[in-house]
Symmetry: C2
Subunit: 195 residues, 2 copies
Amino acid sequence: MARTTGSHSEITGPRIREAALRLFAKHGYAAVSMRQIAREVGVQVGALYNYTPDKQALLFSLLQGHMDELLAAWEAEPRGADPLARLESFVRFHIRFNLARPEAIFISYMELRNLEPAPFAAIESLRKTYEQELEAILAQGRDAGVFQLDEPRITAFALIAMLTGVNTWYRADGRLSEPEVASLYWDMTRRAVGA
Amino acid sequence: MARTTGSHSEITGPRIREAALRLFAKHGYAAVSMRQIAREVGVQVGALYNYTPDKQALLFSLLQGHMDELLAAWEAEPRGADPLARLESFVRFHIRFNLARPEAIFISYMELRNLEPAPFAAIESLRKTYEQELEAILAQGRDAGVFQLDEPRITAFALIAMLTGVNTWYRADGRLSEPEVASLYWDMTRRAVGA
DNA sequence: GTCTATAAGGTGATAGAC
DNA sequence: GTCTATCACCTTATAGAC
């Protein structure tokens, strides 16, 4: 299993991130050792420290990368002009994006508490930005008289929790396809906001 | 800080469980050591093993105790005769019960993966029993023509995820009281099921 | 039931050779 | 950039004294 010595920075870096993501999601950040990550990648533990100053920075980098990707993907998503169409875009986008990255979603919810206050606040801020995207859609729809709701912020929390929950039970080889699931959740969402 | 030697089984046992629950919820099961728990309780680490065969059994016992309490409390909950009233009972019960035990709820969702297959399956089975209580209400309402929904099981997953999400943002000293929050979620639930 | 001491092994991180 | 070797420390769990 010993590897030859040499320079592999272009592939080792991503491989470390992939292994860490998979292991953190499966066993939890605290339960995974740097040695385990190194073994998975096929390098010795000392080599990891060429790519991260410490274990926590590796976790932070994964979480931040995920949130950046989420916000960029939503930014790039085609969306309808009116609040109802935008809400449907958000629901379908959220489910599609989350089901494509179950491991990143998992650690984003579970491992935040392993960050020090400053990195924690940085990730929380990105999450809040995303939540506010939905909150804004809800507030616009309410102001336009399309949605019946009193608390856009709380409704946004409730809907995001509901939508993210898909990841806990959905199986790609299950009875329902992803678009079918998205349509079910869109029906519930539409009704929940009184549209 | 040294304690006198002596027999304290009636108080040490519960104190170990309380300390473990609090620490597991705050830092995560894997990140908490038996020494930390012992320090919190005010005993030496060896004494813990009079109350649990090992660390994992302590986690299992906490999770099982929580699920038993949940099922017993729902069993004892007064509930309406028709599906709509029963659904409202469930929603208000779930929010009230969860907000009263944030730490137990937290570890029930986060630390399940730290159990071996057999204990894991035992807790999953209890959770499934609870989910089926809601699923049955939804199916009854659909059959009675009171609810509009095609998938009682998936609707149950969606609603439980939504309701459990309250724990992530609710603060007792916040703007909204617990009954007000419950009413907001009941409005969304009622509409989501097409009642 | 609680203590102290210890076994046996894992931890994150670093230094210096190549 | 990767390796080996190592530091200083922490881990779960147990044995035997009290």
